[in-house]
Chain length 130, copies 2
């Protein structure tokens, strides 16, 4: 789809405009959405798969690794049974949100209405998961 703000094979301009590098952080068709869904708080692998039904496990995994390597998100493995993993934006990742908000805002103005992800609290939030 759209986001094709992805890691393009052909790097546009050497070191020209400031868009390039920042956009590189968002490369990958799913990356912006991924960050978007993490903006509401930590999220587990499986939950992200539900948030983005059409993403394949392979790609989700790859994007998460990339973003982790770039310092945009953090992974926390929870040793439990079944094992789970939580992903959350780092402080740096949070700095990307204003930009995504701006994009979303334009999207709203240009067409529809929508709000930041405020999904229900995880079902087992206050109960037990360990």
């Amino acid at each position: 789809m759209g986001l094709k703000v992805r890691k393009s094979r052909a790097p546009p301009i050497p070191g020209a405009c400031p868009l390039t590098e920042c956009l590189a952080l968002l490369s990958g068709a799913w990356t912006p959405n991924l960050i978007w869904y993490l903006s509401g708080g930590p999220r587990r692998f499986g939950e992200l798969r539900i948030d983005m039904p059409r993403i394949s496990a392979k790609v989700l995994s790859a994007r998460l690794r990339e973003l982790e390597a770039k310092g945009v998100i953090e992974r926390q493995l929870i040793a439990s049974s079944p094992p789970s993993a939580e992903y959350a934006l780092t402080e740096m990742g949070g700095q990307l949100l204003p930009a995504l908000d701006a994009i979303a805002r334009v999207g709203q103005k240009l067409k529809g209405v929508c709000s930041r992800p405020r999904r229900a609290v995880r079902s087992s939030e206050s109960s037990s998961r360990n």
Copy 2:
């Protein structure tokens, strides 16, 4: 390059988050930069090729057509010899700038410094081009 916020084959989420549709406007590896360079005012085909040395004529042409079809930019053919064409952001296209600025701002904060495109006025600006 980065944004690969491009036209992905696999549309992320059906109609979920507001990012998707707006990002679709920016699809294509060069699109964000293209809009960026047009933000400083009307620009000719050849000038854009200079702004983005590594883009191929084919792709530049394709992106321009797409953006024109989407109502983001306007094309003005100037019947002169040699013939020239000017591309400029439409009002709608201008609405995308805040978002791009936000992205650029984050890029700056995260790494370097850069400013909006303020290239020199076209050489023949005040001279003759009929």
